[in-house]
Point group: C2
């Protein structure tokens, strides 16, 4: 008999996918330029030319056996070395290549990190608003998921709720900064306070609580700021990264786990990830992609469009009287809906061909997410439509 | 606390890796041309030029957003269509693209297939001699592993042992044909008999037993033969494939699960694989590799060297009085050692710089594996060394 649990999951529909499919269908009807689709978090700028050049160079000049052969089971040495070097230079860390485990994107990174620092029956905490995929990521690891409700004033951490939910079964936290869907980056203060609580609770319970930091948006930061690097605040930390957003390579599945050198048993965790890979069917990300990204890991696509778009949207939202925390990065913004049910709000917006995602699936009902990884011209036109929508429906 | 189960796995050493590392170290000492390393199953011929050309074409001519963007969660439509078409033409099947789930190689394929058709507590059977990775593949799925001992006369299936071990808890069999390490392809008779037993037992126990067929060596077949396609013999079958061997792309992690259209609940299995991916951190194989392989999936590298090598080795083994089943494909051969302990035999061979792998790790002690994916010249020189070794140690 096929697995009934996975079969049952098929009836759960993905709200984001449904909205995106609706937008595509509607686009066919009235012209795609007339549908303002803010549903999907897909990069809207091309990969840097240097990546393409590096790929072509490898294909033309490198021995194909070496280029396409199995990488060592713990990853391509050049990739591991360049990642460690880059993180050390940028965040003052002390990684060596042995702390870096190459993965198929951040999803692969989180799958390995969760399994490395938990055992079945443990509890893993996530903080609303959260990336909705965290639910299957955590649950399918065989651990209990504990959700900490949002601090909806700031979208930093709701520490009161956090402290009340932490127990001796808490094995790890999974955080996401800069955050999808809120666009907010955790501040230094937040990360310091988080670290202090984790240290105290680790001591109280007699075991270290691990911090898994998912940070695919780390390079998309606004106002010339630098997002604090979560792992630099707490020793028992694993950074999960993907080049999907910064290099606009989401389909190529390239990322890593970086194990803090000061982490408990740091030297075992990457080799353990190699063992975990055997069971979940990963065998390192593609060889050619590891080799190409090793050469361009300090570059990014031209990410400036996201900040341009954010400012246009944020200003218009303010003008129209929305409540909204200004994003510090990413390509998301997460305003409060103009009525209690964000589902109703988004349904009404749909009638104006504005496609927004209700916050319910991100653990923050009453808010809605706009993914503004789209052309700036379209964003500007969408703002006219938004004004029209708000004035007609809510004035 | 880090996961103690995975940590404990670190002390289990990989015999193949140790031998391969020994060969490399020894090569540095006496020159790599003087070490006859038959330990690793890494393709020794380059990928077809058409694959390289296609990759360069995609990089130069395709919109990078489309090329590197997320593929649909159930895979690139061109890849799925071309795989279905190719399998239908070659094996008389009736796949549609919806039966094909792209995966990161065969390891990824098996990880999904196992989870789709079992639940924790079920039993999954494998047949000795088996690919040693099957043990972590199966165990980390959370099911019980049942090993059927080898038919050492033919390396077909030991049906008596099989029938005695099948129970109502048997959810699936995982077979590998053509086989690593034996090089033997299951015959039509074997697959028919297997199918008959599975049908009878499925009826007896009131649930279908699934057949997961791992076939990365399907295209490496000798004597102008065609290996019988396991899925064509039994409806409840999932074929797991990798292009690692046929296209010499092991590092690029590209393969698929093909669900037999006649399989129970066939229409659900690929979408379920999409759900399974969320939990184990896969999100389809790399986009560019799917697109390139879609265009070259009917080609292979020049695989003729493997047959040339096999004939040279097989003839010499016969001449020297070894007992050995002649391989029907792959790049492995699995002779009986000349003493009871194949570990001892391989240790003695090492003194002659002949690197063989004892059969113990493949579930067939007393035999040893030679992977002959190496230059034919070197194979010829190795045969002189083999003769020397056998005459000095066993005459």
């Amino acid at each position: 008999m096929i697995n009934q649990e996975f079969k049952a999951m098929l009836s759960g529909k993905s709200v984001i996918r449904e909205l995106s499919e609706y937008a595509t269908a509607r686009g066919k009807e009235i012209g795609y330029e007339n549908v303002f689709d803010f549903s999907l978090g897909n990069p809207s700028v091309p990969a840097p030319q240097e990546f393409t050049d590096e790929m072509i160079h490898l294909l033309k000049d490198k021995d194909p056996m070496e280029l396409h052969g199995y990488t060592p089971s713990l990853g391509n040495p050049d990739y591991k070395r360049e990642i460690a070097k880059s993180l050390n230079e940028r965040f003052g860390m002390n990684y060596v290549p042995e702390h870096i485990f190459p993965t198929t994107g951040a999803a692969g990174a989180i799958a390995h990190a969760l399994r490395a620092v938990t055992k079945p029956g443990d509890e893993v905490m996530i903080f609303a608003p959260y990336f909705s995929e965290y639910i299957p990521y955590v649950k399918q690891t065989g651990v209990e998921l504990v959700i900490v409700p949002a601090d909806t004033e700031s979208f930093q951490i709701n520490f009161e709720a956090f402290e009340s939910r932490i127990t001796e079964k808490t094995a790890a936290l999974l955080i996401n900064t800069p955050n999808n869907p809120s666009g907010v980056a955790y501040s230094e203060d937040t990360l310091k306070k988080l670290s202090d609580i984790l240290k105290a609770k680790s001591k109280e319970y007699g075991h270290n609580i691990f911090l898994i930091s998912d940070e695919p948006y780390r390079e998309i930061i606004f106002d010339n700021a630098k997002a604090p690097y979560a792992s630099s605040f707490y020793p028992h930390s694993l950074s999960c990264y993907s080049f999907s957003k910064a290099l606009s390579l989401p389909g190529e599945r390239i990322g890593y786990v970086a194990v803090n050198p000061e982490c408990e048993d740091a030297e075992f965790i990457v080799p353990m990830c190699g063992q975990i890979s055997r069971g979940i069917g990963h065998n390192c990300p593609p060889s050619i992609i590891q080799q190409a990204v090793a050469r361009v890991c300090n570059l990014t696509s031209d990410l400036s469009v996201y900040e341009t778009n954010m400012n246009i949207i944020y200003d218009k939202l303010m003008e129209l009287g929305f409540t909204c925390v200004r994003p510090g990065g990413t390509f998301y913004i997460f305003p409060k809906a103009l009525e209690e049910s964000s589902i109703e709000f988004c349904n009404k917006a749909k009638k104006y061909d504005l496609i927004f995602v209700p916050g319910d699936g991100f653990g923050a009902p009453g808010f809605f997410r706009m993914a503004y990884c789209i052309d700036t011209d379209k964003v500007k036109r969408a703002m006219e439509r938004l004004e029209d929508f708000v004035k007609k429906e809510y004035r």
